[in-house]
Amino acid sequence: MRYLPLTADDRAAMLGVIGAASVDELFADVPGPARLDGPLDLPPHQGEWEVEKAFRALAGRNLSPSEVPSFLGAGAYRHHIPASVDHLIQRSEFLTSYTPYQPEIAQGTLQHLFEFQSQVALLTGMEVANASMYDGATSCAEAVLMAKRQTRRSRAILSGGLHPHYRDCTRTMAGFVDHGVEALPLDLDGSEDLAAHLGKDVACVVVQYPDVLGRVSDLTALAEAVHAAGALLIVAVTEIVALGALQPPGAMGADIVVAEGQSLGVPLSFGGPYVGLFATREKFLRQMPGRLCGETVDADGRRGYVLTLSAREQHIRREKATSNICTNAGLCALAFSIHLSLLGEAGYVRLAQINHGKAVQAAERLAAIPGVTLVNQGFFNEFTLKLPKDAAAVVEALAGKRILAGVPGARLWPENPAAANLLLVAVTELNDDGDVDALVAALAAEVK
């Protein structure tokens, strides 16, 4: 077996040093009934090309969005990833290192995390950010838990414009014990009044920006109302490229910003692994979940970096920790940082402008199809169409024509008939005019 260096002679010599007659003796503590003596019902080992062939066969049964016009979004976006990103994250020293518990020989990872935290704070307009969470949805759940600790209140109000996966993860992870998560229904007409739900027991209000349908709204007044009621405003961003074009949540009064960082550097990979971003105000630092990297000096006075404020974390605090989280999304955070470093401010802003411009053009053409209406007036790179018929059926029909038209409402709100005709359409820099032509023509034919 190519990954196992020990030879039969090595094994015999090692057993000799141990003083055991066989490897079985080393498993003597395993109770008899639990010992598995026969072979497992699994195929035998395989060489590289045999394994690769099997994966190619599986891959061949999927329709790749890289090869057809694709307008899928709803929290996961297809963007161009510069070639150097994937090269750099595959450097052995990044790929095959552990959590930086020995800072003297992990300055590469630690300095990167410090840069990552700085980048996330800058993009979101917040004061501090952690070293990442699993993904945007779990980041959102952790933010609600944090708000409950910070305010010592029990109820969280989730906007109906929050991505249903974020809503559900938050309900599961932050409402598990006290059922204190109240999710408002999807509102299509923009009449949602979050402030009306505030009360003395409300710890936080969670809104998405732009929301799941792509709508953008000024959160300043909401933030004021939330603060006046003694609660925190949590803002979830599922498309981080949007903040190259839009005011950052921090400038509108957000107390915690959570985001999905996948759009920068991380491939779609059928939904994971992604990278959750988490930023907040400095005064809430001690209640923050997850790892934090901080600057310090070494014994010679040289600048260096360490994991810090770990008194919040499970390996020190055990059952009193702020979260049970142990890993972060290290390598995905690295990809995010490298991609953003390559873009720089000028590139990041331009990328956002391209996304927005292409989305505006596509939205105008799609909304001109008879029977199709645009739900939202304002948006970044994703908008929602209302079709004259069931959107899931339309999406399925267009997939048959090798066009991935978007995400139908029923996929996100299967229980809500009002969402059945909705189609979420995302347009990025990778969609050229030919893609939009194909979608417009196929959609027009399908809804005729």
Binding site: G108, P273, D298, R302, P414
Partner: protein, 526 residues
């Protein structure tokens, strides 16, 4: 300003460097910029960039009327601008300041730092796997769903368990998944319970997870031989005990001999048995958790099944369930319907499920790598993995037991636990000893964990080390142990330990300063 290719059209402003940083690096290194041969000092990326420069060529944005709802960004962000060669050099230089499994033996106990095969990286990037969207119509991702189902099949066969939840993102997330299913099962019986029993040797995530689920954590002491104290465990059993969380093999590197009695005990009071499968590498192919009476257990795909640790993630933590708990597993999951595969995402189809705990369907990129690893080894190779891992750990134990102090009488499983008795009266602590290993070219073992022994040193060599590699590691540890012991009663050279590391890119860092005056991000100089 940028031209059509996104390149700067004007000379950039003066470089924002940090001369103070250069000066301290230089002073400490005795060189002009602080570099020492191939060891390059590297400033923060924010100190390297210039306004207006970019490393990505982008076309002109389409000319449209903005529909941003009046919320267009005002003012700058503060991101540095660099060209591609600068970015590549920055991150390559950073990478060279990390230890890695590809560089040498990485003996972190309970972390299973084994070789990460590159075939797995290759197949995870195939078009049709790496680039598919999680919300494509399911008819267009049948290969992806089959892949998940196939991995689930391997996991169920290896564990002897009837169900597996694939979505948890990491080990701790898997623990949460297991405990939530247990909670949901009790609630379904109208019998919400209060206490979870957790042995003292448990990883910190265990009590943190139980607390997150609203349980009171009740610690169970260990016996003198490093296992759960069965009598103490039985004495704590009662009708309010929801579950026991037992790591097996445990964090002392020992198999819990009484595991079946623990299962019987917890079941006798109507509780469930959660097993922390972090150390599954020791028993894969040789012991099936399903034969031990376990109700739920997570597997760390980034440990046993070699998905790369990546400097701290991403991980993946599928959870296997017994028949008693499987209906409470989270959404979504893949269901086979004839020749087709379907994702069940709607609670109405799984009314007992405790719900969703992760966006989309789980860590697909990790599933691909883990399945490639399993298929490469096959059933035969995986059994050999456990045998070689256990053999290597016992070999380390046997080779060091005369100079260091093993905490428990052998044999151990996949990791060898020592404590600091051999350092008594030497003035050298476990920390000093670990830091001295760095100067010898090795990453230290896990230190001060588990908490049940004093000054723990936990060594897990894994099955992917050659005998020669382990022998050289042993040679270094023996040498260091002898040097430390020579420091007893004022002899030897204690500074070789207390001032270590001296040869790493950084010497010991001031962690107190980092925590007292937190500097958690770069800020533009004013």
């Amino acid at each position: 300003m940028l031209n059509r290719q996104g390149r700067a059209t004007q000379p950039a402003v003066a470089p924002s460097t940090d001369p103070a940083a250069d000066a301290t690096f230089a002073r400490a290194a005795g060189t002009i910029l602080g570099h020492r041969g191939l060891d390059h000092e590297e400033r923060l990326i924010f100190e390297l960039g210039e306004d207006g420069r970019t490393g990505v060529d982008l076309p002109e944005p389409p000319k449209v009327e903005s529909r941003l709802g009046g919320l267009a960004r005002q003012g700058g962000i503060g991101l540095p601008g660099l060209a591609e060669p600068q970015v590549v050099r920055h991150f390559v230089r950073l990478s060279r300041r990390n230890y890695a499994i590809d560089l040498g033996l990485y003996p972190l106990g309970s972390c299973t730092m084994k070789h990460n095969p590159r075939l797995n990286e290759k197949v995870a990037r195939l078009s049709g796997l790496g680039d598919i969207h999680p919300l494509q119509p399911q008819s267009t991702v049948q290969g992806a769903l089959e892949l998940i189902e196939r991995l689930a099949g391997w996991i169920m066969t290896l564990t002897g368990m009837p169900a597996v939840a694939m979505s948890p993102a990491a080990g701790a997330h898997g623990e949460l998944c297991g405990l939530m299913a247990i909670h949901a099962a009790h609630v379904a019986k109208g019998d919400a319970r209060k206490r979870v029993l957790v042995p003292e040797s448990a990883h910190g995530t265990n009590p943190a997870t139980a607390a997150l689920c609203g349980y009171v954590v009740d610690p169970v002491p260990a016996t003198a031989d490093g296992r759960i104290d069965l009598e103490a465990f039985r004495a704590k059993l009662g009708p309010d005990v929801a579950a026991v969380m037992l790591t097996n093999p445990n964090t002392c590197g020992l198999f819990e001999r009484d595991v079946i009695a623990v299962a019987e005990g917890i079941h006798s009071v109507g509780g469930y048995f959660y097993c922390d499968g972090a150390n599954f590498n020791a028993i894969v192919g040789r012991v099936r958790p399903g034969d031990l009476g376990i109700d739920a257990m997570h597997l760390n795909l980034h440990k046993t099944f070699s998905t790369p640790h990546g400097g701290g993630g991403p991980g993946s933590g599928p959870v296997v369930f017994s028949d008693a708990l499987k209906d409470f597993a989270p959404l979504p999951f893949v269901r086979r319907e004839g020749d087709a595969f379907r994702l069940v995402e709607d609670l109405r189809e799984a009314p007992k499920s405790f719900g969703r705990m992760k966006g989309y369907h789980g860590q697909m990129g990790m599933f691909i790598r883990a399945l490639a690893y399993m298929m490469s080894h096959g059933g035969d190779g995986l059994r050999q993995v456990a045998e070689d891992a256990v053999l290597a750990a016992n070999y380390v134990m046997a080779s060091l037991k005369d100079v260091m102090t093993p905490s428990f009488d052998g044999p151990c499983m996949h990791e060898a636990l020592f404590d600091d008795r051999f350092l008594k009266d030497t003035g050298v602590t476990t920390l000093d000893f670990a830091k001295a290993m760095i100067d010898q070219g090795f990453h230290p073992m896990t230190m001060y964990f588990p908490l049940v022994v004093h000054g723990a040193l936990l060594i897990e060599p894994t099955e992917t080390e050659s005998k020669d590699s382990i022998d050289r590691f042993v040679l270094v540890l023996r040498g260091l142990a002898e040097q430390a012991i020579a420091c007893r009663d004022g002899g030897g050279d204690p500074a070789a330990f207390t001032e270590a590391p001296r040869l790493a890119p950084r010497r010991r860092l001031d962690e107190t300063r980092a925590a007292r005056t937190p500097v958690l991000r770069w800020k533009a100089p004013v």
